[in-house]
């Protein structure tokens, strides 16, 4: 069994938050789907609220403090990412965007990402398509075809979660699991090449001029 890793980024602000609730449901479903496919992933949850000041500091100083560094590495090194944001003013929240702003521009290249969003009403339900997908497209992540949006009303219904929402979660988790198991698990980058192992030699730098 390979040791794949899932990183879960949740940008909810209240405790508990429906954003985290959705993130947890997506995580549980994805872990189950991966287990069905013979994988037993390690899960790292990144609560952005815990890094709110560190993220603002990172914008100012240009570097992440120690605790934020750990979360950035967890997301950068993950085999799959679940990213969930509340909808603020018709888009992802500023905190959510800030986290992806401070990641290295290549951190998520080729990484499968399952997108989720929460809002008070269903009127925001296309936010994943018009706001989140372009962001992750820019980051060259592979977004899962099914994005999961949950409005407050979706949390009613039988067993606490509306059946339609539950089935979207199942479908999205299955899609993420397929993408994650379809790619080789991420090797620890530095162990193979050493720091800056990918730097071109001076001769090739000079030729490139």
């Amino acid at each position: 069994m390979s040791a794949r890793t899932l990183a879960v980024v949740s940008a909810g602000l209240s405790v508990p938050s429906s954003t985290r609730l959705l993130a947890d449901r997506l995580t549980a479903a994805t872990v189950a789907a991966l287990r069905e496919r013979g994988d037993d992933p390690a899960v790292e949850v990144v609560e952005l609220r815990d890094h709110a000041r560190a993220l603002a500091d990172n914008l100012v100083t240009g570097f992440a403090n120690e605790s934020l560094r750990g979360s950035i590495e967890a997301v950068t090194d993950a085999d799959g990412v679940i990213a969930v944001t509340p909808v603020f003013s018709a888009s992802y929240s500023g905190l959510f965007k800030t986290f992806f702003d401070v990641l290295d521009k290549d951190a998520l290249t080729g990484t499968p990402v399952l997108l989720g969003a929460t809002a008070g009403t269903a009127r925001h339900s296309l936010v994943i398509e018009h706001a989140l997908r372009p962001l992750f497209g820019y980051l060259r992540a592979i977004t899962v075809p099914t994005g999961v949006f949950a409005a407050t009303e979706d949390w009613g219904g039988d067993g606490g979660v509306d059946r339609a929402l539950a089935s979207r979660i199942e479908r999205a988790a299955g899609e993420l699991a397929d993408l994650v198991t379809g790619r080789p698990s991420t090797p620890p980058a530095e162990a193979l090449e050493g720091p800056f192992g990918g730097t071109p030699s001076f001769e090739s730098l000079l030729r490139g001029v």
């Binding site: 500091d57 100012v60 100083t61 570097f63 120690e66 001076f202 730098l205 000079l206």
Partner: protein
Amino acid sequence: MQFGVFSVSDITTDPTTGRTPGEAERIRAILAIALKAEEVGLDVFALGEHHNPPFFSSSPTTTLAYIAARTSRLQLSTATTLITTNDPVKIAEDYAMLQHLADGRVDLMLGRGNTGPVYPWFGQDIRNGIPLAIENYALLRRLWDEDVVDWSGQFRTPLQSFTSTPRPLDGVAPFVWHGSIRSPQIAEQAAYYGDGFFHNHIFWPPEHTQRMVEFYRRRFEHYGHGSADQAIVGLGGQVFMRKNSQDAVNEFRPYFDNAPVYGHGPSLEEFSRETPLTVGSPQQVIERTLGFRDYVGDYQRQLFLIDHAGLPLKTVLEQLDILGEEVVPVLRKEFAALKPAHVPDAPTHASRVAARGGAKDTTVHAAADDVTGQARDEATEEVQDR
């Protein structure tokens, strides 16, 4: 090991008084700081180059030439000279001239500059930052090392039969450091030429510095300039000192909190923990600075930033007194005791001339008319063209 100070030449409001010095006052202050650096026994004064407010230092060689004339021992350097947007021909000429005026007490640190609009102001594109640094330095090297240069490249008009004057003093060009915070290509460049590598070591956690220096050392050895621990490394650093540690913290805090680069972000305590910034007693600065060696190895040059963020001149001169009297003498002794014999000192003009087997006059004499400056055959051709 060399110790000194470097200035970015910012003109910043003193947050404790609300007062902002004018350019004339700040320029005079920089001169006073440089002269004081020599007086208290420091080895190096390095000055930045910028082309936009709030900085005044657009013309470092002018400033350094003045300081050279007023000092006798101080090594003059830059932090940094923009290898991307300056014409390498002008760098070759200006710094060779400065080298003559300063009797060899000159080296320079090349950097790419981090102010986006400076590139278009000088007709360049910031996306070419690395290629500009590579090509321009390749030309600068040739202009100093070869008397007559034919050259063509991507970024500058070609040269035919060009001689950069004056020729480097005693036939030995100024030593070059390459500065970069995060670009391994620049560390690679420094290693390729066997030049020095300088890490700013102020704004980011020491792990970044460590990775860059390790990479530079490894590549220095790869290119056959010596063993990795013989590579020439310089570090920046930022300190503020008072006899009593808490006094230093209280006095520096408003400057830190409002500093242009990192102000209004992390607390002084957080930033001190995460970066090499040390605010405290002279003893704390000594201990922290000695600790730099643990992650970069034995190194050749330590420069401190002490005059930014609106600190008044009087305070800066007091900091220089503390550095000169209490900190640097101890650091000199301790670092020297730790350094193995095969690790070289920072190169100086004297050591570089000696390594080349002595001084030689490399003046390129051209037969020219002393009125028109034209060589005889040029003048003749011109007449024939008419």
